[in-house]
Symmetry: C2
Subunit: 705 residues, 2 copies
């Protein structure tokens, strides 16, 4: 067994049950289960289905035109792992203590061992193996293995849904936000199978769950030797009748093994010199992939499928921090993530109209169903950059895959509609083409003019549209593009104003950024971070202080300034950045690697790669920081490994940290599977599958066979 | 009788009952009653006590540190005019039709005549005379005169409190915002008197109301000739036991007459050439004065005491639009209005700390109890200028009264604490002393840097503090002023940055104002005004478009730019102003008068002087636009009459509109009562009471005896 792909309780720093529930949560893109105790239900125990949400009206102290109307809140559905075990005198083994938990990332198998006690303090051991089917991702296999410790004799097992009664429908309006509007309809098909239909009241969604045994849901067994009790749990598609398939536990396990085997073949990352780091990276990639919708209708919730934090919403995190991994290792998933955006294009056009922009589409800052759900527009809707972020992800996918068919059918239209938005939203003045009252990625600086990141991304978005119109003239015409519009997009793209400080010789975060005083860091006690929890937004906004990489993120994405300027910018912005967002350090790390700050780069990386495993932010209990999982891959591959695509050519620079002996990564590129090995002395490229390829490695053009 | 001081239903354009309830509402600074039908209660019928409010938690879609915590909502207390009348067979006269309503502003007497019907369609007439005591303003006199129309015989009258049951306490949290948290405790003292104690749940306020008859609250009368039934209603002070005084109706009327006589002596405004205009101005001054708290603990609610709109909150409207009238005609009231601000100075210091400003005080943008109640900070708390607005009102009061004693005890401290706020809030950069992320009076442009109005007012505020420290060194020292602080305030005041556009040669609304495109007025249908109801704030903010005078308001207040620049500014800003705020036109009118645009000035004035009487904004039913009432006086006196104080000297310029033959106004100035008469040929100044005075009239210095 490869220890770098196994996580057990003994590897972890805490035995807090909620933290462990998150860490050992497993998922398959469609649904996830938290690793809660099946005997003693916890509050957060349950099943989280990607995209299954309830709505409730957003209350505003003072409402205005065009504000987001409804909350969309992902639902914590009943726990399908809950079970009851009784002794021969019908006393329940109601005490349960976790002994160990092991997640094998080679196979996807989660093994949890508990010691159970009946009221007479007689003990048995319960081993629960859980594994998700990955190809048809509606199935969970559960094997409960029970053996005697000091109790022997008959036991009775009953399998049921662990329903949290607090979620059932109630008329009490005080409870509406915390989702007490579900109706449950149980339907026992026969002794071996029960179906539970769950309906939401306001969003009008329905889903079926099922638990099925190969024998019966209630069984009496003699405990003279370890006994197995297998359950198959099914989770249907939203608003779709459940398909009653019943693969065996071993069939499900085989499916999972094969999926993860293939996965590691395509996306292996290996570091020689730090086993625990290796383990952490594998964990990140494993959980990131588990969290990600693959059906073109769903996306990646902010906490994956491991918790209901951030209400299960999809953010720009997908395009900027997570889809790069998929584009380069499993482009089919990157494609599905874009298809989700395509599926909400109509809502996004409507949203642009609500914002008073006559043309194009504006994607919601946070959403499940495509409608804006952000209740604070200065750090929500005003982050218009999400439009360009999505276009950037399309460009990346296209560069890696050359998938023209996809571009014609879907990609072109999204890029065009977002470019149209920028063209209609911006305006010319004597500085150029400008964007007013926007918020960039740095939420500590809101509602500003000409945010560098936003403007740079908008420029890219319109340039990309122009390029695609050139490439797909027929499809573009069908989408209503005229010569006039083409010229207009091209002209605006060329003239986008990009703020630059002559005094500092760097790109300036926005028109007024450097006018403001620098945040009084020396007067700010450590306990006052993150700032947003300790200062009024008006205080934070009126200083130079960044929550996360903003202008630097543009530098990271476009690599379009000199090394010297990059160094100056890095220096400047690092001094005013708090990294109060978990999305910050991965970008600082990658950029530090690119400008040769090896120690710093490594330190930032180490701060982020284990964010969840070491519970860095003290809230892993609420769910994984999935964007950060993707961010660690980004740092390795785009920072240390420094892979970029320039003029359709793969460009690789070796920024191997001093502390590592070797780094090897695998990526897919234009139909090939490539392994890149970074050593201190050299960079080795192997094409594992596919045609020869021209690359530029450490500045030298090579043909790799 | 002077018709210019009488309003009757026949003068009005509508017979909508809610509109008439507002128009004929009467008040005495402490409480007000709407002119509702005493027989058939309307929803908004009731008694509004200045400063008597209930609290409820403000709900935010997304809350952040330092947000206002609680709503403060003025309570509509029981109607004390409600009455029941029965015929000899105990059938109620339950149908009631208003025949006429007359408000005599010479005396304060409101006379309402109704025709009542019993179920047999027999009719009687009810005349209700209502008059408020003004000196001890806890008393309302009511005389019900009943006479036969075609019903004769015995009648029974019963007097009761008109309690709106919807306001009683309930556990239903859905009702909390609309105030269903009151408890009522009735206490019948004897046959002639009933006291009602009303308590609020969350704000923990108590008030006593009483209704007393000279005989009994229930009486049987023979209707062979008109019969009178007198009731005295008492409204106690908040959290204070009611004083059971019982003046007679005629005593109350005499008190009211004497009050209003004195009032007109001091504040008469007369226009020769337009009687209905004269009537409108008198109405405005009468209602403004009725609406205004005079006890140093209350202020002027946004709808006066005529309605519960804007939750009964006090805004900057007081200092900028209403207190000028009082400063120049009844300085004692202006003083009480400042004392209210003094009474909430501690809350304001606390608020400054919540905003992260280490020194000084920040007054709440909207409040009753001194705590911020604005639930949208970009158009609330960010209007820091309220601090300087209050200091400006203190300066005005001081210039008119030379009341050194008041300045030592109260004025100095407020000016100092607000100046300290500015000093601590602002910061130096190479432009000067700057203020970031502020909102000026124009709420269509929010969260900007160096709003001209804000900066100009802050400069004034700090300069004024420096001046007062010079004048009151001892008191200043006691308030902690050091030489260092003095220098620091002086330095910052001198260096305040004031944005100026070289291209336009005018003061620029804020750093980025002129970068933005001009609002597409030609594409905006009339039905889309006011813009805030039809466009997302982000749309409005990203254009040059003003809700109201902003930079121009500073010009109006300081008169510190050349006539030519003022003309340019007026031209520029007029083109981008929608006047969606009722506070806008009065300033445009006054400035137009000052720059000689007589027609325009007159037109703006005519649009505002009758705002409520002609129901211009279609919402007079919700209450009077009291700031606008004050605004019309401002236009006349500071625009047409162009009175200013410069270097402690009264400066008068005659801008009499062409359509008027004559304008005469009365003001108090430094202990004198002065009458100024504007004719087309000359300006005549009479000192009605007091010492001779040097003035500058139409550019010429004169000594008036």
């Amino acid at each position: 067994m490869n220890n770098e792909k196994v996580i057990t309780t003994s590897d972890l720093i805490s035995d807090d049950p909620s933290y462990l529930e998150t860490i050992f949560s497993i998922a398959n893109g469609h649904f996830g289960i938290r690793a809660s105790n099946p005997i003693v239900s916890s509050e957060s125990a349950g099943t989280i289905v990607n995209g299954f949400y309830e709505m409730s009206e957003i209350n505003y102290g003072e409402k205005a035109y065009g504000y987001a109307e409804n909350n969309q809140t992902i639902v914590n559905l009943p726990d399908v792992r809950a079970i009851k075990i009784f002794d021969s005198e019908s006393n329940e083994f109601s005490q349960s203590e976790l002994k160990s938990e092991t997640l094998d990332m080679n196979t996807g198998l989660l093994t949890s061992v508990y010691k159970l006690l009946n009221p007479n303090n007689q003990a048995i051991e319960l081993k629960l193996q859980s594994v998700l089917q990955q190809t048809d991702n509606h199935v969970l296999g559960l094997r409960y293995t029970i053996k005697s410790i000091d109790y022997t004799g008959r036991i009775k097992i009953t399998k049921h849904f662990g329903i949290n009664n607090d979620t059932a429908e109630t008329d009490d309006p005080r409870k509406s936000r915390s989702l007490h509007t579900l109706t449950y309809d149980r339907n026992k098909i026969d002794d071996s199978c029960e179906v539970l239909e769950v309906k939401t009241k306001k969003s009008q969604l329905v889903i079926d769950l099922a638990i099925c045994s190969q024998h019966a849901l209630e069984e009496n067994l003699e405990l003279n030797q370890p006994v197995d009790f297998d359950i198959i749990a099914l989770v249907g598609d939203i608003n779709t009748k459940l398909q009653m398939i019943k693969p065996s536990f071993s069939e499900i396990l085989a499916d999972s093994k094969s999926f993860w085997h293939e996965f590691w073949q395509n996306s292996e990352v290996g570091i020689d010199g730090d086993e625990s780091l290796n383990q952490a990276i594998h964990y990140n990639l494993f959980q990131l992939t588990s969290s990600t919708g693959r059906d073109g209708k769903t996306n990646i919730p902010a906490k994956g499928l491991s918790g209901t934090g951030y209400e299960g919403h999809y953010f720009w995190d997908t395009e900027m921090y997570m889809s790069p991994f998929f584009a380069y290792t499993n482009p089919q998933i990157a494609r599905e993530l874009i298809l989700y955006r395509y599926s909400i294009l109509n809502e996004s056009k409507k949203r642009a109209r609500e914002l008073g922009v006559d043309n194009g589409a504006l994607f919601a800052w946070r959403t499940i169903n495509g409608e804006e759900a952000s209740a604070y527009y200065p750090a929500g809707t005003a982050q218009y950059h999400i439009d360009a972020d999505i276009s950037y992800a399309i460009d990346r996918y296209y560069k890696v895959t050359l998938d023209k068919d996809f571009m014609k059918k879907y990609g072109l239209e999204i890029v065009l509609e977002t470019a149209r938005f920028w063209r209609s939203f911006g305006s010319f003045n004597n500085k150029g083409f400008c964007f007013f009252d926007v918020t960039g990625p740095d939420e500590y600086t809101a509602i500003v003019n000409n945010n560098y990141y936003t403007n740079r991304m908008a420029k890219f978005n319109m340039e990309f549209a122009v390029k695609l119109i050139d490439e797909f003239p027929e499809q573009s015409k069908r989408l209503g593009v005229t010569e006039e519009e083409y010229d207009s997009l091209k002209d605006a793209a060329e003239k986008v104003y990009l703020p630059y400080s002559e005094a500092e010789q760097i790109n300036q975060q926005d028109d007024s950024a450097f006018d403001k005083p620098i945040w009084p860091f020396e007067d700010t006690p450590k306990s006052n971070y993150p700032l947003l929890l300790h200062y009024h937004p008006l205080k934070i906004y009126r200083y130079q202080v960044n929550k996360q990489a903003d202008t630097l993120l543009a530098d990271f994405l476009f690599d379009d300034i000199s090394q010297n300027q990059l160094k100056r910018e890095y220096d400047y912005y690092e001094k005013i950045t708090t990294h109060d967002s978990s999305l910050s350090r991965s970008i600082f790390s990658a950029l530090a690697a690119r400008i040769g700050l090896k120690e710093k780069s490594y330190d930032y990386f180490m701060d982020t790669v284990k964010t969840d495993l070491i519970d860095l932010q003290k809230n892993t209990a609420d769910g994984l920081h999935v964007a950060n999982l993707g961010g660690s891959w980004l740092t390795i591959v785009m920072g240390f490994g420094c892979i970029e695509i320039k003029d359709s050519l793969l460009v690789i620079n070796n920024n191997l940290p001093n502390k590592w002996k070797k780094l090897s990564i695998r990526i897919k590129f234009q139909g090939r599977l490539i392994k890149i090995t970074y050593l201190h002395a050299k960079t080795v490229i192997d094409i594992l599958d596919g045609e020869p390829l021209n690359v530029i490695v450490d500045g030298i053009k090579k043909n790799i066979k």
